[in-house]
Symmetry: C2
Subunit: 376 residues, 2 copies
């Protein structure tokens, strides 16, 4: 299978977990407990520790990772019993979802499993943070994403460009969709990319910039796939970007606001997030580049008049980010953060409209991308 | 032009504002001022008053409307001058957008027009609430929607089903899109519906229920178009629903959480919103029906165990809604609100997953829709 530029689409090479492998993994998890019970041992299992102290930044692979810390969860421990029961319930439910080829939302999972325990007033789950938390444990212990366990992320964000996708028996191209695009669903594990005609993927912070770039037909003129996560990219969009990156071997270029939030969106895309450090290898794109907005753009493009003043909350965020290892040890990023704090201003993507509506598509992006004026 | 069920697609009958009409309207707005200046009168224009005191509920048409209140905006009045200038700037920019066939986001408009005034430190706009507010005035004075002035709403929400749409030179069908759908863009004024095979439109509160109904192929089994606004429906989605309703003459059925927020989503869809009372006739669908969730569903479907307790904020909202004229004078809705307060519980759409994942698609919706068990 090749794309129209003769690039191999490595669907077959990438390690995709088959439903069979997922079922085997869930099944081993259960069998292990059954064996313990048969051997008259109290059943238990291990969960990697996900607290800050067990998270480290892998300088070499440029990824956030979990350390070796693990904790035991025992059935015969009054403090663990409830969570033990919940974990086995969620594992069993996920097994039935995978078997039935159904997917569920996080809240649907909660309601699906919520009931009163026989002869008691105790509920299996009292709210969805309980089911969410055991889902996190399960994801982490089995090293299988919740979306691979058929629990969906939020369906948010969209894609536009000449890429043909197969999913759930349908095959469709993500261009030729008017002003809209394909809504990236909360589960993209089962997508297959059958064709793609693009040189890179542009990951865009907000939906208004996405609309601008669709209207200017930038996906055609620059030869790229436009993807937006509408603010902080949700899991579904990050997973979609990761799958595109892995299978198409195309560079991912990030285009966000020049402020601590934009910088953070980029860093999560590139290194992983602190909350999901155990999953960085399934979400992060370590080669992702940053095209803008930068503090230097303000001078280069004479945009001083359309910057916004920093608020206290922005300054606090800058200080926090200066302590992140991936920024702290990187002079390029440290300079950006310092410049921002010194000037006391931030700049949004849309500020480019001050030059002209077309400027971003006709000048800014082509110039910076062609000359590889990236931050890394 | 007909749909596959032989229903006339009344694209031609509905009052669609052509770009020419919009340009004429903007042009008259400007010419009027030029005439005043030529006559040596200080230029002024009128803006309908949008405060609470000028909003009334039209019992007959079942719509929120503005009363007759108007206020003058004069150039020669120190308190008006800035807003006067801003209004003419925005009107002029919109004219250029319509002429150039460009659309802009609200924040893009702000940045596009922001500059320092010659020989002063004064900016044309200091933040986007200023440009947003004059845009509201303009929309209201000209009786033309901001999207018709080529200023986009947020692109959010999606549609799935057998409907074929033409927009911006593309023609596409909104089914066969895997687990995603067509992202409803922030501007749908220029859509044309070339085919539709459905009996009704189902307006769904949240994206997880949308995913469920896509997965269950409900659009096929029930013969409907699925639309979600992901929470409170944004302007773009409401306009999309209105256009579908007007052109396809299909019933709109609302499916939301059984709580004060779900009720409000329905009421905004049906009667209009207080903030945009002047635009109700362009957004509201007065014949919209409500299929669920209802307080009665809790008994009927034995869902007591998956209700959520009301918080103080929910109770305050219930009390507020009991005072809204469209609920206050409607025994059906007053009963629902009272029941909710008495029982002290609310119920989410996803709670139906407690029966089974398929239940909503195989039983709940078909049963209630076939038997027209609606609240109205």
């Amino acid at each position: 299978m090749t794309d129209s530029k003769g690039k191999a689409l490595s669907n077959s090479k990438e390690k995709v977990l088959s439903n069979e492998e997922i079922l085997n993994s869930l099944s081993s998890f259960g069998k292990n407990m059954v064996d313990q019970i048969k051997n008259e041992e109290p059943p238990k299992f291990f969960v990697p520790t996900r607290t800050q102290t067990n998270i480290r930044y892998d300088e070499e692979k440029r990824l956030l990772r979990l350390g070796e810390g693990k904790s035991e969860r025992k059935f015969i421990n009054a403090a663990h019993t409830r969570k033990f029961m919940q974990t086995t319930m969620v594992a069993s439910a996920c097994m039935s979802y995978v078997n039935a080829e159904k997917t569920v939302g996080k809240r649907e999972l909660y309601y699906n499993l919520k009931h009163s325990l026989p002869n008691s007033k105790e509920n299996t789950f009292d709210d969805d943070t309980e089911s969410g938390s055991v889902l996190d444990d399960l994801e982490c212990s089995l090293d299988i994403l919740r979306s691979q366990l058929h629990v969906n992320a939020k369906g948010r964000g969209s894609v536009y460009g000449d890429i043909t996708i197969k999913q759930a028996g349908d095959e469709f191209n993500c261009s030729g969709l008017g002003r809209g695009g394909w809504l990236i669903p909360g589960n993209v594990e089962d997508i297959e990319i059958t064709n793609c005609n693009a040189d890179f993927i542009l990951a865009i912070e907000n939906d208004a910039m996405m609309s601008r770039l669709i209207e200017e037909k930038t996906w055609k003129s620059l030869g790229c796939i436009l993807v937006t996560g509408e603010g902080m990219f949700p899991r579904g969009v990050r997973r979609f970007l990761k799958i595109l990156y892995e299978r198409l071997k195309l560079p991912v270029i990030t285009f966000v606001d020049g402020d601590p939030y934009g910088f953070y969106i980029y860093s999560v895309l590139k290194y992983g997030s602190i909350n999901l450090a155990h999953l960085s290898d399934k979400y992060a794109v370590p080669t992702a580049k940053y095209v803008g907005m930068t503090m230097d753009d303000i001078e280069t493009y004479n945009l001083k008049n359309v910057t916004e003043k920093l608020k206290d909350i922005d300054r606090n965020r800058i200080n926090e980010e200066m302590r992140y290892p991936w920024f702290k040890n990187n002079p390029v990023w440290l300079r950006q953060l310092k410049l921002m704090a010194e000037k006391g201003i931030r700049i949004e993507q849309q500020a480019l409209a001050n030059k002209s509506l077309e400027f971003v598509a006709s000048t800014y992006l082509p110039e910076k991308i062609e000359n590889e004026m990236f931050l890394d």
